[in-house]
């Protein structure tokens, strides 16, 4: 920008009496949500999405399920939904995990989010079938990590068994590390 015009603009702004901002239509919630999903480092606070109103959850659900949408945007939408919580967020995660066309990175994010949403009590029931039967070994590894993080007592034996049967058990290393840590006394962790 030209210094002169910028200076004049600021001068006018400083000289003008304080007034309320002019009335303008409220921003489109879907556009706002889409813009926030472009965060390069984050973090975007969960409260930021909540403050946009109920339309924010709707937009996040749309972005998460968008079949040919940018995978990174779908991932971020799922992560935001996992932060917001609720039955609809959980359903969206299940849909993505079950999708045959969703990119692998999106499905892995959905598995991790499902673990977070289901919590200790329901994670084993939600994730054990994925751990044992999903077609993609990296999705199985993500299920192992989510189980080890949220329900280690119930799931770590199953995770170790599954790791032994995997072609590349190194993919389970993070899950096994979490299990080892959970098995130690709190003072040793």
């Amino acid at each position: 920008m030209a210094l002169a015009s910028a200076a004049v603009a600021l001068a006018l702004a400083l000289a003008a009496p304080a007034v309320d901002p002019p009335a303008e239509p409220p921003p489109d919630v879907r556009e706002q949500v889409g813009a926030l999903l472009g965060a390069i480092h984050g973090p975007v606070r969960t409260e930021t999405f909540r403050a946009l109103g109920p339309g924010a959850e709707e937009a996040l659900l749309d972005f998460a399920r968008e079949e040919n949408g940018p995978p990174a945007r779908r991932i971020r939408a799922l992560e935001a939904l996992a932060g917001l919580g609720g039955a609809r967020a959980e359903a969206a995660h299940r849909d993505v995990v079950a999708s045959v066309s969703a990119p692998r990175a999106v499905r892995r994010t959905a598995v991790r989010g499902l673990g977070r949403l289901a919590g200790t009590s329901r994670a084993p029931a939600e994730l054990s079938p994925i751990l044992q039967r999903d077609r993609d070994p990296l999705v199985r590894a993500a299920a192992a990590e989510a189980l080890a993080a949220h329900a280690p007592v119930e799931a770590c034996a199953r995770i170790r068994t599954q790791a032994r049967s995997e072609e590349l058990p190194g993919r389970f290393q993070r899950a096994l590390r979490l299990c080892d840590r959970a098995g130690r006394s709190p003072a040793d962790r």
């Binding site: 910028a6 200076a7 303008e24 409220p26 965060a39 390069i40 403050a51 992560e79 935001a80 990119p103």
Partner: protein, 543 residues
């Protein structure tokens, strides 16, 4: 424009000319006339004591964007397996990554020690690189109620030199100095543009401190034709040492030691420069980029490199060699199993920083990791697409803690929302081509490595130290209905500033800039300002 604009505006408001008015400032000088600062020049550029129209192009990059060479390293990176559970924090040598004449080894020094280094005539910039020695520094310290907090909070330690003084006595940086402010509307914001050096405090254990990285310092260095020659001094310092003199601070230490190097870059000060990129693949064997040879031959990688070059070309950079490297299997299994890097532990022993310690290819370059994905922090909502260890990166010290930048592929490479959007080598298409979005994020991370901060941070209250990037304060630029959620007015802020609000006017700018905190497929163009370009081009990584 920031400080210079504000002062100009105030001058317009307050210094109304009249017959009794004192004479105004001398008229701007033409190209070729003597100058001491760019404000004296019609061209806005004072170089080596004379007003200049432009800077010359560098021989390494005669025409932007140049021609990149994509290469594959046939050997696996020879990083030594430290064993499970071991936290690597080795002090790294700058040789042979940097030529001997660029490096002054200042030894291992305790915090509080004063040190000196020499800048010869023709030195265009320098970086002070500090590496923690022998695990001697606390990772964190604590601030409690006596320091004004309602509860005790844990603060990560940060290494940053202080009392940086130029020959002749000009103080360039004091880490304890208050931050200057600028008032916009009813609110005051920190204004770093007039300082001679800037550090935001994000580097633990190992860090790099560059001069110049602010508009004021850029003007001074360019006007003088380089940094002031002679003996510079500074004090070895970290926040844990500063803690000792803070009321309400505990866990500090005055015995931490750091290995210090001064890296000086000799000319040219140019309008262009060449940059090499070392790319480390932290990916799964089934990834689209599983091997260096496969990556180097992948047609979408050619497009990715071209688009990275296109964005960084806005700063005058030519991408030179882009070399793909494979990591040893132990490193992938430990720090990126299944190709995903876990960002839940941001400490120096976390997976990301430990992964960075494997970037040991001894090249004067940016060291960039590509993983298949990131595991976002479970506390809060992460949404991280790319990340840097420090700002700037420790050029010439490959394998240090925090000594890398990382980008998650997220299945974006070659993803098209419209068939053919990623074909060939056309201009970047952020709306329809995932490869180009990945390139944008990589270019953004490289911008951090080369010393650039976000033009505006997410809450719209903190801005970069550059005066010719737009700033976008939340309370002035957010939608009217959302301004009561801005951090300037709310103790529980909920409004974050987005690109669309930062392309509206001269007072709400920066939304198109490569270093804005968001990538927007429509508004982001990857623009970089002249001063951002100068900061980038003076980084020691740039030839």
């Amino acid at each position: 424009m920031r400080r210079s604009l504000a002062s100009t505006a105030l001058a317009l408001l307050c210094a109304c000319p009249g017959k009794d008015s004192p004479p105004g400032p001398p008229p701007p000088k033409a190209v070729g006339e003597a100058c001491s600062a760019r404000g004296e020049c019609q061209s806005g550029l004072c170089f080596a004591g004379a007003c200049a129209a432009t800077l010359p192009a560098a021989a390494s990059c005669p025409t932007v964007p140049g021609t990149a060479h994509v290469l594959a390293d046939p050997n696996v990176v020879n990083a030594i397996d430290p064993g499970p559970g071991f936290c690597v924090s080795t002090v790294r040598s700058p040789f042979p990554a940097l030529p001997v004449e660029m490096v002054q080894d200042l030894g291992t020094l305790q915090v509080g020690t004063d040190a000196t280094f020499a800048a010869t005539s023709g030195t265009s910039s320098f970086v002070l690189v500090s590496q923690e020695a022998d695990g001697s520094a606390p990772d964190t310290f604590f601030l409690g109620p006596e320091a004004g907090f309602s509860t005790t909070i844990e603060i990560p330690n940060v290494v940053v030199p202080t009392n940086v003084v130029a020959p002749g006595g000009t103080l360039y940086y004091d880490d304890l100095a208050g931050w200057p402010t600028i008032t916009i509307g009813d609110h005051a914001y920190y204004d770093f543009t007039g300082r001679l050096a800037h550090d935001l405090g994000i580097q633990s254990s190992s860090g790099a401190f560059p001069v110049p990285n602010t508009s004021a310092a850029i003007d001074r260095v360019l006007s003088n034709g380089g940094v002031t020659p002679g003996s510079w001094s500074f004090r070895v310092n970290d926040w844990a040492a500063e803690c000792l003199s803070f009321r309400g601070c505990s866990g500090g230490s005055g015995s931490s030691t750091y290995r210090l190097h001064a890296v000086t870059r000799s000319g040219p000060i140019a309008s262009t420069g060449a940059l090499d990129v070392e790319v480390y693949l932290a990916t799964d064997p089934t990834s689209v980029l599983s091997t260096p040879a496969g990556a180097a031959a992948h047609p979408q990688v050619a497009r990715w490199v071209g688009s990275v070059g296109s964005f960084l070309g806005n700063a005058g950079l030519c991408i030179g060699d882009v070399t793909f490297h494979d990591l040893p299997q132990w490193a992938k299994d430990r720090y990126a199993p299944g190709g995903d890097v876990d960002l839940n532990d941001f400490g120096i022993c976390g997976d990301l920083d430990q992964l960075f310690t494997t970037a040991i290819v001894p090249r004067r370059a940016v060291h960039l990791f590509l993983s298949d994905g990131f595991i976002a922090p479970s506390q809060g909502v992460g949404r991280i697409a790319g990340i840097d260890g420090t700002i700037p990166g420790p050029t010439g010290f490959p394998g240090t803690i925090s000594g890398g930048a990382a980008v998650a592929l997220n299945d974006e490479l070659g993803h098209e929302t419209v068939s053919g959007a990623c074909d060939g080598s056309g201009p970047p298409d952020l709306l329809r081509c995932g490869t180009d979005r990945l390139a944008y994020i990589a270019a953004h991370e490289i911008g951090h490595w080369l010393g650039l901060y976000h033009t505006t941070e997410s809450d719209g209250t903190l801005f970069d130290p550059v005066s010719d990037t737009g700033m976008c304060p939340c309370s002035a630029c957010a939608a009217a209905a959302q301004r009561n959620g801005c951090a300037e007015v709310s103790s529980n802020p909920t409004t974050e500033i987005t690109n669309d609000r930062c392309v509206l006017s001269s007072t709400c700018g920066g939304g198109r800039n490569l270093m804005f905190w968001l990538l927007h497929p429509v508004y982001s163009t990857g623009e970089l300002s002249p001063d951002q370009g100068r900061i980038v081009l003076l980084n020691p990584a740039v030839r």
